[in-house]
Symmetry: C2
Subunit: 298 residues, 2 copies
Amino acid sequence: MQTVQIVEVGPRDGLQNERNVIETSDKLQLIALLADAGLKRIEATSFVHPRWIPQLADADTVARHISNRVGVEYSALVPNKKGLERAIVAGLKEIAVFMSASEAHNKQNINKSIRETYSILSEVINQAVVAGIRVRGYVSTVFGCPFAGDVSIDDVTRVMEQLFKMGVYEVSLGDTIGIATPKQVEERLTVLLRYFPVEKLACHFHDTRGTALANVYAALTKGIRVFDSSIGGLGGCPYAPGATGNVATEDLVNMLEGMGIATGVDLHRLLAASSFMQTKLGRALPSKMLSFKQRGGY
Amino acid sequence: MQTVQIVEVGPRDGLQNERNVIETSDKLQLIALLADAGLKRIEATSFVHPRWIPQLADADTVARHISNRVGVEYSALVPNKKGLERAIVAGLKEIAVFMSASEAHNKQNINKSIRETYSILSEVINQAVVAGIRVRGYVSTVFGCPFAGDVSIDDVTRVMEQLFKMGVYEVSLGDTIGIATPKQVEERLTVLLRYFPVEKLACHFHDTRGTALANVYAALTKGIRVFDSSIGGLGGCPYAPGATGNVATEDLVNMLEGMGIATGVDLHRLLAASSFMQTKLGRALPSKMLSFKQRGGY
C-alpha cells in the first residue's frame, strides 16, 4: 500500500489572505477539526509581523492554545529570529522558513535579496535546531515568478542546496502562482532528483489555473510522497496578482484515496472541517468535493 | 510539435443542463465565438426529443443557422432515426450517437437495454453513413456508474467493439460522473489500447471531483490526442446526481499549450466566448481560467 503525507496549510497559507478577521476560537476549532480528520501535519499559523498579515496577529495565542494531539505535528511559519522566539515561547516543535527561487519575488515578498535572506535564515535555522525544533523550508516560485516570468532550475537548485545545508529536513517546492503544468513538474523534478533525495522533497501546488491535481499526479509519478494542501482550497499569495488557492485538501485526499494511496485522512470528517470554514467565511470555497457534497453528491 | 484536437461540447452537453432557456440567437453567437477562437470540432446541439431536453428544443433552427466555417466540423447528438432525419434536414455532416457501458445507466438515461440500443444505433449509423454523414460514438460511465458503481472493462470493450463494428469513426470515453482517477485512466486505457487504435479514441472527462485535468494528463501519457471539453466548464449529466461540468475548454487549452501541445485555439478569444456565456447565464461558471481572468490575472 502506497502512502502519502499531507501537510495541511489552510490555517496559515489559507487564512492569511482572508480580509475579514476570523476569531481565534474559530481558528482553534478549525485546527482541531483538521486533526480530527486524521491530518498529521498542520501548519497552524505564522509569526510574520502582524503589520504584514493582520489576520494572523493572534499567532501566539493560536500556537499556545492548540489542543495538541499525540502523533500530530503542528508548525508555524517563521520569517526571522523574532518569529522563532515567539514560536519557542508558544512551545512549537516545528517551524517553517521560506524564501523564493526568484530574486524579484523574494524582494517583493520579504523586501530582502536572496543573499540577505540566506544570512537571516541561517541564523534562524541554526537556533531552531539547537532548541530541538525541526525546520521545514519553503521555496516559492519554483515553476515561475509573477515578476520575473521564468525561473531557472539552477536558481531553484541553488536555493534548495543552501536550505538543506542550513539544516532544513524537507523542502517544499512551491508553485506560488499556480502556473506549473504536469510536464514542467516532471521535468523539474527529474533534474532536482539528481541532487536531492525524494524523501526530502514536498510539492505545494496552487490551483489558479486548475492544474494542481494534474501536477500532483505528475509529481507522484516522480516519487514525491509529501504534498501541501489547504482545507477548502483556501489561500493564495498576497504578492502574486490573481494567484489563488492551494489545492483543496479534500480534493487531494479524494484523488489519492481513489488511486489506492493511503493518506490516513477521513474524507467525511475533512468535509466537516471545510463546511465549518465555509460557514465562518460566508462564501463558497473553491473545493470541488465540498461543492459536490453540498449538491448531495457525497 | 505535438497537437491535440479538442471537441467542444458546450453548446450541447453544457447547455442541456441549464434550466433557464437560452435564446437561439445566443446559442448561435456562442457557436460563432467558439469557431472564432479556433475550435475545429463543435457539437452544436442535440436532436433528442424536446420533452427530454427542453433547452435544446430549437435544435433544428440552431443546426440550420450555424454560420458554417471552412475547416470546422459541426455535429449534433442523435438518439434515433427521427433524430438522424432532423440532422439530415438541417444539413449536418456529422452526428454523434451515445450509449452507456453500464446497463443500469443506459436504462436510466435512454430507457432501453444495451441490446435494444444496439439495434437502434445500428440502423441510425448505417443510414448516416449511407447519407455521407460521419458518426462519432459516445460511451458513458466508462469509469464508473452512478447506479451500478463499478463498470467492468469487459463491458466497456464490448460496447466499443459494437460501435466500431456499426461504423463510428471514433469513440469518446465518458467519465459521466467525474469519478475517474488518473491511475484508473492509465489502467483502463492500457487495456483498451490492446483492442483499439489510439487514433480512434477520445476522452471526455467531467470535473465533478476536480480530477479532469489530471485525467487528461494521464490520457496524454497513453497517447490520447482527442479530448472533449465544454466552454466555461458548463455541463453535466442530468441523470447522474451531483455530476457537474465537463472540463472547461479554456482550462484544457491553457494546460495543453503550457505543455507545448498545440491546440489551434486562441485562449483570449476562447475566454471572450466563456465571458459571453457567463453573462448570458448570469452566474459564475466553473472555469478556472475565466475566474483568473476576471481577477485581472490573465
